[in-house]
């Protein structure tokens, strides 16, 4: 669904990484680790078309990302649920409307209905549905971001440090949700520093750990 083939990305005159190949195939579950500043977030942005590779090929659902227009990228993003590190909400809209935003922009707002209520309950935000994002705690924002990422039932889920601001119990719930979605055939890619999350996941799902370090992406061992 999403393929990176010998991709390089340069920024500010320096090469952030090169020769990176990655395949987010249906049903795959992958973790992306590496030191801060290695380029994990940038690599994720290449995967959902927010950035364009300096060299190499990125294919989004069979299309060459370099040749895709803005509207084609927008349509591709409707198949990708992204949990951003900084959540990225519209601060003037209530939480419920923020979560339903992917359906709204796709012209499917009427589909939200009961599903939105179930989702809000599941992420523990049923009572915060009418609040504005700035009124939420860090953990609540992270859960809302996850709910927004999955509401449109995307083919690929990309999460950037999704457990950074949530407690252990919630991170386990989040992981269970991602595993459930993965079992439904969704591809999952999680960038994280949370080794406990990776270890727990590996006991529950067939997953692959990749490490971005020294400008290269390599498979990491289970011991990490």
């Amino acid at each position: 669904m999403i393929e990176l083939d010998r991709v390089a990305y340069s920024y500010g005159g320096g090469e952030l990484f090169s020769d990176v190949s990655l395949n987010l195939a249906p049903g795959s579950f992958q973790f992306l680790t590496g030191p801060s500043g290695a380029g994990k977030t940038t690599l994720l942005k290449l995967c959902y078309g927010e950035l364009r590779a300096t060299s190499g090929h990125v294919r989004l659902f069979g299309q060459n990302a370099r040749e895709m227009g803005r509207d084609e990228v927008a349509l591709a993003r409707r198949k990708i649920g992204v949990v951003h590190q900084d959540c990225q909400f519209l601060d003037h809209l209530p939480v419920a409307e923020n979560i339903a935003l992917p359906l709204t922009v796709a012209g499917r707002a009427q589909e939200a209905g009961d599903y939105l209520e179930d989702l809000l309950r599941w992420v523990g935000l049923a009572h915060q549905a009418g609040q504005l994002p700035p009124e939420l705690s860090g953990g609540e924002r992270q859960r809302a971001a996850l709910a927004r990422a999955v509401i449109i039932s995307p083919d690929v889920i990309i999460a950037d440090e999704p457990t950074g601001n949530i407690d252990w119990e919630m991170s386990q719930r989040l992981l269970r949700l991602l595993i459930e979605l993965n079992k439904m055939g969704k591809a999952v890619l999680i960038a994280t520093h949370d080794m406990n999350l990776i270890r727990t996941a590996k006991t529950q799902v067939q997953s692959r750990v990749l490490r971005l370090n020294n400008r290269r992406l390599q498979a990491a061992g289970v011991d990490l």
């Binding site: 927008a74 935003l101 922009v105």
Partner: protein, 301 residues
């Protein structure tokens, strides 16, 4: 053009959900309302001037075209005879409805503005004036002049052409000026709304980024701004038009001011013309915001 108009109507009647994606307040909202209101107010006067000058040109043209003056300059002992001959000739001229010699009092009235009320008109060698009212297609001036030359040698026919043409020309130029003013007002409003839309887009860069991340297409994002600016421009222009119409209504009446300004205003079906101004403002806002939004979104990709 039909497609663009269709989009305009669909946008106005369409889904307000995109609107909510953009924060509802901001100085661009007030700027758009004020600009549209002020421009509509000015456009109202330009429109009133345009309609008034149009009417003036028509009136002058009609009034002067339907009347002529015959001036008889002859020795005092021949004046009465030549006047009688001229009237007799005119009464038998096709296209002449009536011919009437102006009385001494009427001539005195004509001269009074220049020479005062005490002018001794009887002792002055003033020519006799005959007012001619035309009918139907009017008379043949060349034929009439030829007959007058033969039968009333002291008569000079003035068909008002040399008065009429400069007056109509002046009124037409005034109307052109008013129409130019309306076009400039529309262009200025379009430019200001474009700037306001660009400012709104820049101020909402983060909103645009989030909408893009969740899969919004350019037209969807632009629609949020376009619909809002179009409605604001319409509302502002409607308010400005109402104030402008009241101001035109309150212009001094003929009795108070006199002169040209008394004709400034709307008459009859002309009162419907101001209704076009808010619609025109909305159309201008739609296209100006749409172009600005799509251009800005292209550069922000």
């Amino acid at each position: 053009m039909i497609t663009a108009f269709g989009r305009f109507i669909a946008m106005l009647a369409g889904d307000p959900l995109p609107d909510r994606s953009v924060p509802p307040t901001g100085y661009t909202a007030r700027l758009t309302l004020f600009t549209s209101g002020a421009m509509a107010f000015l456009a109202m006067f330009a429109l009133a001037l345009s309609l008034a000058t149009g009417r003036l040109a028509d009136r002058w043209s009609a009034e002067l075209a339907r009347t002529s003056t015959l001036r008889i300059s002859a020795p005092a002992d021949q004046l009465d005879a030549q006047q009688a001959a001229a009237i007799k000739l005119l009464e038998t001229t096709p296209g002449v409805a009536s011919a009437r010699a102006l009385s001494t009092e009427e001539q005195q009235e004509l001269l009074e503005p220049w020479f005062g009320p005490d002018i001794p008109i009887a002792s002055l060698p003033i020519p006799r004036l005959i007012e001619i009212i035309e009918e139907g297609e009017g008379y043949d001036p060349t034929g009439l002049r030829a007959r007058l030359q033969a039968e009333v040698p002291g008569a000079i026919l003035d068909d008002h052409t040399r008065w009429r043409e400069p007056l109509i020309d002046a009124a037409s130029r005034l109307r052109l000026l008013a129409v130019t003013a309306i076009l400039l007002i529309v262009a200025a409003m379009g430019a200001m709304i474009t700037l306001a839309a660009q400012a709104a887009l820049s101020a909402n860069a983060q909103v645009i980024r989030v909408m893009r991340l969740v899969g919004a297409r350019d037209l969807y994002i632009a629609g949020a701004f376009v619909r809002r600016f179009t409605i604001r421009a319409f509302a502002g222009a409607a308010a400005g038009s109402i104030v402008g119409m009241l101001a035109v209504l309150l212009l001094p009446s003929t009795e108070v001011a006199g002169g040209f300004l008394t004709g400034l205003g709307f008459q009859g079906a002309g009162w419907f013309a101001p209704l076009c101004i808010p619609v025109l403002a909305a159309v201008v806002a739609f296209f100006a915001t749409r172009a600005a939004a799509l251009r800005t979104l292209r550069t922000q990709s």
